[in-house]
Amino acid sequence: MTVDRHDPEIDAWRDALFTLAEDEPQRSDCPDPDELWAGAHGELTPTAVEELLDHLAECAACTEAWRLARRLDGDGDAPEQADDLATTVPIRPPRPWRHAAIGWAAAAGLVLASLLWWTTQEPPATLRQPQGAWIVDTVEAASLARRAFELSWQGPAGARYGIRVSTDDLRVVAMATDLDRAEYLVPAEALESIEAGARLFWQVTADLPDGRRIVSETFEVRLE
């Protein structure tokens, strides 16, 4: 699901944005160049960066200056290395937790839980990701409130979804099937016994119109 900063569409948008700098007048409220340099090089607090970006949203000249700061330091021009890139989200068949800390016993328990869950569903025709289809987590916050624990995802068009939410000791907190929207509000009463700060894991299945089923990777979110 990650985006390549050198993606052709991103490059085209970037080039178009930078054309604005040429014809815009010089504003009187532009930050000191040192501040722009510091922002471009990660030397400012997040709050200060946000304030700078809010100014850049209206000032093409400072946007250009920020870019100059990066280029002067040799950043931003070379094609990205693959380390932080993943242009596709691999869809895997149900499998043990990815987190090493859980341990094999817990992993075996999860496999059992998954098998029990799957046996209540129609056997899938395939679990491999069809071309162009995927399920990605679109929850933006790292933690959600107890009374607003809404999970959302992006999935293939026309799919019906199932979802399972579990604690890190594999206890199923909530489940739902046959959802026609890519979102699910976990009932507050289901979270009553969960302590604040706990990690919750959730997984989505998508039943496609052609009869195939896709299973997402396991996503994680905390309870506020």
């Binding site: 699901m1 990650t2 985006v3 900063r5 569409e9 991103i10 948008w13 970037r14 080039d15 178009a16 944005l17 054309t19 604005l20 700098a21 040429e22 014809d23 007048p25 010089q26 532009c30 160049p33 040192d34 722009l36 340099w37 922002g39 471009a40 990660g42 400012l44 607090t45 997040p46 960066v49 946000e50 970006l53 809010d54 850049l56 949203a57 093409a60 000249a61 946007t63 250009e64 200056a65 920020w66 870019r67 100059l68 700061a69 990066r70 280029r71 002067l72 330091d73 950043d75 931003g76 021009d77 990205e80 932080d84 990605v136 679109t138 929850v139 933006e140 916050a141 790292a142 992006q154």
Partner: protein
């Protein structure tokens, strides 16, 4: 301090980063950067590490660019004005400006968290860099960018800007 070698380095840097509309004023930019470096050297002769040099050169460049921009807005009789960049195809530039303006308007419609993540992406930062600068984690930034990009695309499409 070998200012001759330093000037070569500054010339190369300015050549790489000079805005298109200031191509004809590149020498002025180099001079401004060199003056800034020499003044800085007078103040702090022992502190001339490459990172510091770049920072000083950048400061001088931006000051000069801003000065040139202001000069364009206040035409004075008898004073040579910085010329606009000579373009091979002015129509392409005009189209680029229209698209740039549309992108800016659409960015402005995003919620702040998504807009800032998209801004940093458009400025050439990687996901880990964006996460660090915004005090967040890569996962959240990926989600912000994913949604921000989709919204941007939809907004641009409504304005007739297609990929």
């Amino acid at each position: 301090m070998d200012f001759s070698a330093l000037r070569d380095a500054v010339e190369n840097a300015v050549a790489a980063v000079c805005p298109g509309w200031l191509i004809d004023r590149r020498d002025d930019l180099v001079q401004a950067a060199m003056l800034g470096l020499m003044k800085a050297h007078e103040r702090r002769p022992m502190d001339f590490s490459p990172p510091y040099l770049k920072r000083v050169a950048f400061h001088a460049l931006v000051d000069e660019i801003r000065r040139q921009r202001r000069r364009r807005e206040v035409p004075l009789e008898g004073v040579e004005q910085p010329p606009r960049a000579r373009r091979a195809n002015p129509e392409d530039h005009a189209t680029g400006r229209q698209i740039g303006a549309a992108i800016r308007e659409c960015l402005d419609r995003l919620i702040p968290s998504r807009r800032r993540a998209m801004q940093l992406l458009l400025l050439g930062h990687s996901m880990p860099e964006i996460a660090e600068r915004l005090g967040s984690d890569v996962k959240r930034i990926q989600n912000l960018v994913f949604r921000g990009r989709a919204e941007l695309r939809t907004c641009l499409s409504a304005k007739g800007v297609e990929p």
